[in-house]
């Protein structure tokens, strides 16, 4: 029992993102029971679920980076789309200039774009950690100028990436029944999980996010950690850019990953993370990212008039957040308690793990003070 309780407590922060996701899936199911139907097309799984996994690939990756930045720097990076556009522009240029395209060309180009991403991350990170500029403002610079840079790297055109390997990265590899971007997303998530498992990244980032001066006195260099999270963010942007451009087959520096920072930040928040930094849950953010993808597609599925689609999205977000809000949950818990006392006539305080989990969540999500 108590072991179960501990387990439950450990996962309790996922209550918010999961409940939201479940509600959305239910709505979709009500709209049509064939929602989960999966068929085979050209030897690849096809259906709503694969589409969601495919479509959310970039957002998932970006929201991982955003989670780390948010946790350590207590602010958000709003230049992630631009940074993805720049690094993928470099990737595309490399591949286009390489002559014959082999898997190694692609790999080299990818690594190069990761380096570019890290440089961008270093630029933002320097501003935030060493110059103490607030993240949202530090990254505003690239948000404003980034697409122009990408455009210039592109040679002021929109180059086409029409080689078979890119094609396979963007769609599927013959014989593999799952689209490549989905596989790559999973690989990336696993990598992140491994990094979190084998390093102290989580502890360091959380310590810095919660109390930088205490972290410093325990031998952590908060500046370096914040810088590091921006480097990681840069890599995430590069990976997202890589996926996006291979999916698209063309580098459109204007529209590539446009306005994705809003969704990424929303994903982090939906994941139950405080945007004011501190403790974080990457699992939550990933679920949050998929939730947003599901939400966007739900709106399309409900055939909402394109003019009104944003208004509906807003209403959905508000309703979901209200349901999941700490106050409403605490209130619901009280009602539940009352109901229980009436039913059992018992003292309420001996309640089980669920209530406690709710309380502890209430505490942590109400923390942003």
């Amino acid at each position: 029992m108590s072991l179960l309780k501990v387990r439950f407590n450990r996962w309790s922060h996922l209550f918010l993102p999961l409940s939201v996701l479940v509600i959305l899936l239910l709505i979709n199911l009500i709209k049509g029971v064939d929602y989960f139907k999966i068929t085979m097309v050209n030897g690849v799984f096809y259906g709503n679920i694969p589409n969601i996994l495919f479509g959310a690939a970039e957002l998932v990756i970006l929201s991982i980076g955003m989670t780390l930045v948010t946790a350590a720097a207590c602010g958000q990076d709003i230049s992630i789309g631009e940074s993805g556009a720049i690094s993928s522009a470099i990737f595309v240029q490399y591949v286009l200039n390489a002559g014959e395209v082999t898997i190694w060309t692609i790999l080299a180009g990818f690594l190069l774009s990761c380096v570019a991403g890290m440089l961008i991350g270093a630029f933002n990170g320097t501003l935030v950690s060493y110059f103490n500029v607030q993240p949202m403002v530090a990254t505003l610079i690239l948000f404003l100028g980034g697409r122009s840079i990408a455009f210039i790297i592109d040679g002021k055109v929109s180059p086409i990436l029409a080689n078979p390997i890119s094609n396979q990265i963007g769609t599927f590899i013959p014989g593999v029944p799952i689209q490549t971007p989905i596989i790559l997303t999973v690989v990336f998530i696993v990598l992140v999980a491994v990094v979190l498992k084998t390093t102290n990244l989580r502890l360091y980032v959380e310590a810095v996010g919660v109390n930088p001066s205490a972290a410093r006195l325990n031998g952590i260099n908060p500046k370096k950690i914040i810088f590091l999270t921006f480097l990681i963010m840069g890599v995430c942007s590069a990976v997202a850019g890589f996926l996006a451009v291979n999916k698209a087959g063309r580098h459109d520096s204007v529209n590539l990953l446009k306005f994705i920072m809003m969704d990424a930040i929303l994903a982090v928040a939906l994941g139950g993370n405080s945007l004011a930094g501190g403790k974080f849950s990457i699992t939550g953010s990933i679920i949050g990212a998929y939730t947003i993808e599901v939400l966007n597609r739900t709106l399309l599925r409900l055939e909402v008039n394109p003019e009104a689609i944003k208004a509906f999205k807003a209403v959905f977000i508000i309703i979901l957040m209200v349901i999941a809000s700490p106050v409403v949950r605490a209130f619901a818990r009280k009602l539940l308690d009352k109901a229980k006392t009436i039913v059992t006539g018992d003292s309420v305080r001996q309640t089980g793990a669920l209530d406690e989990a709710v309380v502890s969540m209430t505490d942590s999500s109400g923390k942003e003070e």
Partner: protein, 304 residues
């Protein structure tokens, strides 16, 4: 000879807005150059206030000609009046401004509505009945979206075609959004045979969704694909029969305006540029060479 240079202030949209815009901006910079007898400055922004501020700046500077491609079609009256008072002659290019024609000298515009009409007519003439069309709109409220949507919506209202799905990229013209729209339509089990995407990128996204779902398209396929803008890759797709048609949107107004200014013979009111539609049967290499924008992937190359 510096005094003889004609001073021009150009208020334009940012080149990184699209390939079309880049071509337009570059065309302007090329034609209104010092060698050509101009002293021109160009301000590129998509923000209404910034555009107006720039226009007012040029008016204060006292340029001879003020060329405007407006981000928004309305709200320019004050600036135009100020120009008039200051003796600055205004020529609109590319984008219309919704104001009294007496407020500017001349306008050389792309007629988005005409483009939409070209495409709609093509659909009505070339797609077998019943026409089940998916409309993918660009950035809502933009001149292009409004102009290119209207003829389709009209046709649908008149019962000439069925609008089975109507989606948008919202704030963007992005490929991904277009792809999602078509995916949603497929998932909803809609039967359709035309995709009317309001720019080439969105058409590309739509095609990707079809490919993934294993639905045939193009010349011999089930679904007809129409895009806009004459990107060379799009034209190659049309040429290859991978897509079906593409509508021109001509970014090159500078030469004409230059000629007007130099000749001193500026027509009053609006002049629309000539624009064409090409389909698999009518397209030839010269078109791609001369009218296309963005790089040419080469004959026979298709984007997926």
């Amino acid at each position: 000879a510096a005094e003889e240079l004609i001073r021009v202030g150009i208020v334009n949209l940012p080149p990184e807005e699209s390939g079309y815009r880049q071509a337009n901006v570059e065309d302007m910079s090329r034609v209104f150059s010092r060698e050509n007898g101009y002293d021109a400055k160009q301000t590129n922004t998509a923000d209404v206030n910034e555009q107006m501020a720039a226009a007012m700046g040029y008016i204060r500077d006292g340029v001879d000609y003020l060329l405007i491609s407006a981000a928004h079609a309305s709200g320019w009256d004050d600036a135009l009046l100020a120009a008039k008072r200051a003796g600055v002659r205004v020529i609109l290019f590319d984008r219309a401004i919704d104001t009294d024609p007496s407020n500017y000298e001349a306008a050389l515009l792309s007629d988005m509505h005409y483009e939409g009409q070209l495409a709609t007519d093509w659909v009505l003439n070339n797609v077998p009945e019943p026409i089940n069309l998916i409309l993918i709109r660009g950035q809502l409220g933009s001149a292009a979206e409004i102009g290119r949507s209207a003829p389709v919506l009209n046709a649908a209202q008149e019962g000439k075609l069925n609008l089975v799905w109507d989606g948008t990229g919202g704030d963007t013209w992005s490929l991904e959004e277009a792809r999602k729209v078509v995916e949603a339509a497929i998932a909803a089990g809609k039967d359709f045979n035309v995709i009317y995407a309001q720019n080439d990128g969105m058409a590309q996204g739509a095609v990707q969704a079809l490919e993934a779902a294993g639905i045939s398209h193009g010349k011999n396929g089930k679904v007809k694909i129409i895009g806009f803008d004459f990107n060379r890759f799009a034209l190659r797709n049309v040429q290859a029969g991978y897509w079906d048609a593409d509508v021109q949107c001509n970014p090159r107004q500078a030469a004409q305006i230059d000629q007007w200014i130099k000749s001193g013979n500026i027509p009053a009111g609006i002049v629309y540029q000539e624009e064409i539609i090409l389909d698999t049967d009518t397209i030839i290499d010269e078109h791609i060479e001369n009218y296309g924008i963005n790089p040419d992937p080469g004959k026979g190359v298709i984007t997926r």
